[in-house]
């Protein structure tokens, strides 16, 4: 089987040069999604750009009232981070639900954003937190990043560098519904905040989304209204993991549960 050319840059700037000058080049970090697609030949890029070890994409820092997490920092680093536990406990919580140790040691926020699966578990947390996605060129608001099924605002010569979470003390509640406790892909995954009102949901549409009608009801302090309205905000389908009807029902139930004091 023909293998893609393997490129191993030593710095972010070298990586960006290679990305700009190499045709059909895919960035590779922890490989938890990409290696499956490569091995099954669902994708056949001409080149792989190994960005896993780039220092510029690692680490968790407090910068100007925000917590910044490197795009290639693995979930294990996020789970163990004091900063994340203190200021973004929902992100630590969601990271613990992704696969198990093997995946948490390799999976990254950049991977979740790059794959942009509607079931990406950290994505509703980013939306509920009003996170900003910092690329090699610009900053993109999480709410403007997902443009279609596995389609993002990212350009082909652009690399995800870090995710910036405002450190504003908002309390985000999180719940993931899957077939099992561990090693499960979400049927519904939700992150909710009361102040400001945020309802962000994954696995219920072609993109992870915020639920505008439910948020409007929450702004009025109308919890029942939010639970009623949320079904108008989602577009679930029947697929291998669940049914549209189940997802609608569970979305309402989980939202009600998360909104309980």
């Amino acid at each position: 089987m023909p293998y893609p050319t393997f490129l191993k840059p030593r710095s972010l700037s070298e990586a960006l040069d290679l990305l700009a000058t190499t045709a059909d080049c895919r960035p590779l970090a922890g490989g938890t999604d990409l290696m499956v697609l490569l091995h099954s030949r669902q994708i056949r890029p001409a080149a792989l750009l190994d960005i896993w070890s780039l220092g510029e994409l690692k680490g968790i820092r407090e910068v100007d009232g925000a917590i910044e997490i490197g795009a290639a920092e693995p979930y294990t680093g996020i789970i163990e981070s004091d900063l994340v536990q203190r200021h973004l406990p929902a992100l630590a919580e969601v990271s613990r639900t992704i696969g198990a140790a093997q995946i948490q040691n390799r999976g990254t926020l950049g991977g979740n954003l790059g794959t942009a699966s509607p079931a990406g578990d950290t994505l509703p947390v980013m939306l509920a937190a009003d996170a900003t996605i910092v690329t090699s060129r610009r900053s993109i608001s999480a709410s403007e990043y997902f443009v279609g099924y596995r389609k993002t605002a990212l350009r082909s010569d652009e690399l995800l560098v870090r995710v910036r979470f405002p450190r504003d003390g908002r309390a985000i509640r999180f719940r993931k519904i899957g077939t099992r406790q561990a090693q499960a892909i979400s049927k519904v995954v939700m992150a909710v905040c009361l102040e400001p009102a945020r309802v962000a949901i994954g696995s219920v549409a072609e993109v992870p989304l915020r639920a505008p009608s439910a948020e409007a009801a929450l702004d009025r302090g109308d919890v029942d209204g939010a639970v009623d309205a949320v079904v108008d905000d989602i577009r679930p389908i029947d697929d291998v993991r669940s049914t549209a009807a189940y997802r609608r029902r569970v979305t309402q139930n989980v939202l009600r549960r998360l909104l309980q004091p």
Binding site: Y3, G31, T32, T76, A101, A182
Partner: protein, 152 residues
Amino acid sequence: MISFTVNDHAVSVDAPGARRLLDVLREELGMTGTKEGCGEGECGACSVLIDGEVVNSCLVSVGQVEGCRVLTVEGLERNGKLAPLQHTFLERGAAQCGICTPGMLLSAHALLQRNPTPTYEEAQTAIAGNLCRCTGYTKIIEAILACPTRPS
């Protein structure tokens, strides 16, 4: 050539960087202790440690382990003798068909290196990424908790 260590031995392989570490271990280096289960990162049969951290070797390309320390099940024994963890697996009936056992041992080894006296729940969490269709997991967890000494 890609150079790294496997079980403390330096190796250099002439392989495409995009090739799976799992395939290089089994087919280039002849180390068939590491098993392939699902090939999709779901089952943990191919677990190895890279620089002390457990990963699925089916999801790591060999170019990514340049300069790294890889530990496979073949590296657990010392001087031809099974490691204490392997003994307790035998004594407690923690291995049946054996396909999951190398991966289970490595996940358990990574846990015990970090935390020599884990709770039942910590042992459960440590092997959550390793599927076993024979034992029902209880005997595996008991074996991990019964391991008498910290692995070296």
